[in-house]
Amino acid sequence: MPVEGPLRRRWPRILALIAVAVLTVLAIFALWAREPVIAAIGRPDPASFDPRQVALGASLARIGNCASCHSVPGGRVYAGGTPIQTPFGTIHGSNITPDPETGIGQWSYEAFARSMREGLGRDGSHLYPAFPYDRLRHTSNADLRALYAFLMTRDAVRAEPPANSLIPPLGWRPVLAGWKLLALPRTAPQGPQPQLGALWERGRYLGEGLAHCASCHSPRGLLQQELRERAYEGGWSDGWYAPPLDATSPAVREWTAERLDAYLRTGLSTAHAAAAGPMGPVAHNLARAPEDDVRALATYYAWTMRDARAARSEPVLPDRGTVAARAHPSGAALFRGACAACHEPGAPMMVAGRPDLRLGSPLHDDNPRNAVQVILQGLEPPVEPHGPYMPAYADTLTDKQIAEVTAYMRARWGSGPDWGNLVEAVADARAENGE
């Protein structure tokens, strides 16, 4: 039906009214979302901090793995710029050196503590929850003061991180106040258990807070919030699968505190595997953290995995070489030519004590992602240059070939059902790696 004259004349007015209403709602929302600015300060004199506090802060920063998101490889440490992929776009780690313009040089301790607890910048703007303040907030005042002392005594680096590229309207930070209202986890993390001892308690305090292990090792909801009630059931980080750290751990060898301690401090558990993907930098940092703190983390996470299947009994690990070769002949040939020189039982690397492929969790996970990622990306020595290394096969093998060799390894050494369409799994992993 044609719009009649008077109504047609009224349209602009109706549109204007709608626009005003929308803008009013947005303005009210923005007002509600607003948080106070904390006054800028001059950069504190580095000499004003107690060196012991600075040293403690350095240790805590390693336990918190701050450098992973706040530095780019080969760049100045803590100067930010690291791209972090999220389902909503890419954001970049901020500069947390004490540069007054591009870093946190004008931040008082109060502003720093508020950012760590409430996810707010000094200017009151909301910070994206890729910054895991939902975990960091459980850090004590004394430890936050030490972290502040450490950061404020670093070299000031003038570096503006690249602009974020997020889907609208997420570039508008007041929206994050809504996220906090709807999605910020409110379930408290695991609390103290005095009967479990001081080392366990230290591990709990660090692990549930500053070390924020659950941020990667837990599933996330639609709004990317950590699902606190499902903490440690396994999650995703940078295209890699962060396996469960609870009773559902797929490990086939028990994660005792001793083995976990070795893994976290050297990047290698000879009863499991090497730290790969985003876990590599974690081990790199923990290797440089106080031994007692790493031991505490190992004690605590051995406890969270105490009911895992391998903790009850370690299974016999079969080698179904013949069956696997019959089922996946081309995968078997590729394995012999590309992998066997290191990974076949009896190969020099195995004789030198590197763990057998069937000991690592990738071939026992319920998804093929980590098996595929290790083949695509290889492995950089996580802690020291003489550590475990594997060349990347992303350019050498095609999706189909990686799928074949993965299917062969799963059939030969893995546990659990067939992984299904592996060609697609390889293509997905490549896409996530930005190839």
């Binding site: 590309a338 060349p391 093998l397």
Partner: protein, 163 residues
């Protein structure tokens, strides 16, 4: 039977599909540039180009190479008419014992094809998987910079001027 395309020529190889490309190159085809170093994909002296990208031929089974294009540095030029990357390595006298150099040249070639005007960081990152035990890294990097200029691209942040 596997058909391989190497330096523009098709070869039919009868043999174990798991056989590493390096052995086929050296033992069957008489292409001796790529070297056996560690046999474990750790040193880079066997590096060749597969579809224009660096691949360590000691851990690349020929089964992986059907329908793909392999190039060894014999395909980039000869002693009489060296290619631009080879010429740059000669000009900078980048070799000491020379064992790693074919792999280094293959890597540099792959880099400059993908990124004709590499940054210093990109250059070092691309060359990093190849090891040189003689310590000629500074000359090797100079050769890569020289090749980038000679091939018409250039370098982003010259650490040293290219003479």
């Amino acid at each position: 039977m596997i058909e391989l395309t190497i330096n523009g020529t098709r070869h039919r190889i009868d043999g174990d599909p798991a056989e590493p490309l390096l052995y086929v190159l050296r033992d069957d085809l008489g292409l001796y540039a790529a070297k056996f170093g560690c046999g474990l994909g750790q040193c880079g002296s066997c590096t060749v180009l597969v579809d224009g990208k660096p691949a360590q031929s000691c851990i690349t089974p020929i089964a992986a190479l059907e329908d793909r294009v392999v190039m060894t540095i014999e395909g980039l030029g000869s002693a009489r008419t060296p290619g631009p990357v080879q010429q740059a390595f000669i000009d900078e006298q980048a070799a000491q014992c020379g064992y790693c150099i074919p792999g280094m040249i293959a890597r540099a070639e792959a880099l400059l094809r993908a990124d004709p005007r590499p940054s210093e960081a990109a250059m070092r990152d691309a060359m990093r998987p190849s090891l040189c035990r003689c310590g000629t890294h500074m000359r090797i990097l100079r050769a890569v910079r020289r090749a980038a200029v000679a091939m018409g691209g250039g370098i982003v942040d010259p650490a040293e001027p290219v003479s």
